[in-house]
């Protein structure tokens, strides 16, 4: 084969570009998955949560979440009874000032509570996968978005790490990844749910306090559950269209 120097100079960059695309590979596809057929959310059944921290650990393993950062975490609320002085005067409103702890995101569980006064409960938190999310609206470069199946995702190759979205999220569900320097958050285990699996946190939850729900699936038990239970979302006044449904949520939860 005769290759002139001129030809070679043209061919080499072309070959380099081609080889780069070969190395990058095509993303693993889920051939039976159609984005238009799903609208994902999650149900959290507060009376079932025992605060064991299994979900936090599972999420960290599944998604390589760095230590000290959380895609999901558990908060323990302690809402005391109405504090009264001896004359019967109420001194503080426990609905407004509950005691909230979350040692290391609840990863290793919680200290034993001995104070039997008042009401205790655990509130697992994570991205609410809002259908009208404030975090995607503030992104200046289009690096975060709501996928056609209702999951709020971050494109790490496009993100600048400006952290506007971290500030915009009313639920505090985003953080800047300390090594990648881009915004990171719960993907609702998108790599799992597109393959027919449930999320890592749901898989690891021993009591079924977390359930992945598909609002576009007419056979999903969520539809009956929403009709028969007192279900709420966090900060409904912000009209974020949150799809993280809490059963039996206490009024003091922020």
């Amino acid at each position: 084969m005769n290759l002139s120097r001129r030809r070679l100079m043209i061919l080499l960059p072309a070959a380099a570009v081609a080889w780069k695309s070969v190395l990058a590979g095509t993303p693993e596809e889920s051939p039976n998955y159609k984005m238009s057929e799903h609208w994902w959310g999650m149900l959290i059944d507060i009376p079932k949560c025992i605060g064991c921290g299994n979900c936090v650990r599972a999420c960290q393993v599944e998604n390589d979440v760095p230590d000290g950062h959380f895609r999901t975490w558990i908060e323990r609320y302690h809402r005391s009874d109405w504090p009264m002085t001896e004359s019967g005067e109420v001194t503080a409103n426990p609905l407004i000032v509950p005691e909230v702890i979350s040692p290391d995101g609840g990863k290793e569980g919680f200290p034993v509570a001995t104070d039997t006064e008042g009401k205790y409960f655990f509130v697992p938190k994570m991205c609410n996968h809002c259908s009208d999310s404030p975090c995607t609206q503030v992104c200046p470069v289009g690096a975060t978005f709501i996928s056609p199946d209702g999951v709020v995702l971050v494109d790490p190759t496009y993100c600048l790490g400006c952290a506007y979205c971290v500030q915009a999220c009313p639920y505090g569900c985003r953080y800047i990844h300390p090594e990648k320097n881009v915004a990171d958050k719960c993907t609702l285990c998108y790599h799992r749910i597109t393959k027919g699996l449930t999320t890592a946190c749901c898989e690891a939850c021993p009591t079924g306090a977390r359930q992945l729900v598909d609002l576009k699936n007419p056979n999903d038990p969520i539809h009956e559950f929403l009709k028969t239970h007192s279900v709420q979302v966090l900060k409904p006044q912000m009209a974020t269209g949150a799809k993280l449904f809490y059963n039996d949520l206490d009024g003091s939860v922020r």
């Binding site: 993303p27 205790y120 978005f145 995702l153 494109d155 190759t157 496009y158 790599h191 890592a200 021993p206």
Partner: protein, 189 residues
């Protein structure tokens, strides 16, 4: 003077356009309006050129799939979906470990998934020979206490014990079978 200017910019497209306009304006008597407007057309030409350069640069800078579904890179969805899995899922476990699944189904741990206690097992499940990636058997003194240590914060109906007084330091699996832990349901060892 007019003729000179005309020769100078003989090949300029702007100038051709100008000539056409001049013809038209003469015909319709608009001469006075466009008489000294040549500098405007040169400027307009610059703008058109800059716009073309912008289009070419944009073509190379903006990723192909940007805008496929919205104001973001559509290919990002596939890339996120391609992340490796760590938790295999209980259906995968049960294809081989049906004995453990059957034992579990009879007891109170029926709804606890395998990997809730045994940890992420995708490597074990997808290995050519699963016995080469042997999962570590959890230590029941630590494992069971995570859920069952008594605390006023836990839901009242949930079975809770104080490990120190309940077993005096003995491992839980001395008495209970973890897959079916109930003492009355034939779960005791």
């Amino acid at each position: 003077m007019y003729v000179q200017a005309n020769r100078k910019c003989f090949r300029s497209h702007t100038w051709i356009l100008w000539n056409l306009l001049e013809l038209a304006s003469r015909k319709w008597g608009l001469m006075s309006v466009f008489k000294d407007a040549g500098h405007l057309f040169r400027f307009a030409g610059l703008f058109v050129l800059a716009f073309l350069v912008f289009l070419v640069v944009r073509h190379f800078v903006v990723p192909r799939s940007f805008g496929q579904y919205g104001h973001y890179r559509g290919a990002a969805i596939g890339e996120i979906a391609a992340h490796p899995i760590k938790y295999a899922g209980h259906d995968t476990c049960e294809t081989c470990h049906s004995d453990a699944a059957d034992a579990k189904a009879k007891g109170k741990h029926a709804h606890v998934n395998c990997e809730a206690c045994h940890g992420a097992q995708e490597k074990h499940a997808t290995a050519d020979d699963p016995s080469t990636v042997k999962p570590v058997l959890p230590d029941t003194t630590v494992l069971c206490a995570r859920c069952h240590t008594a605390s006023a914060a836990k839901p009242k109906g949930f079975p809770q014990v104080e490990p120190a007084s309940h077993s005096q330091g003995l491992a839980c699996d001395t008495c209970h079978k973890p897959h079916n832990p109930g003492m009355d349901a034939g779960g005791a060892k």
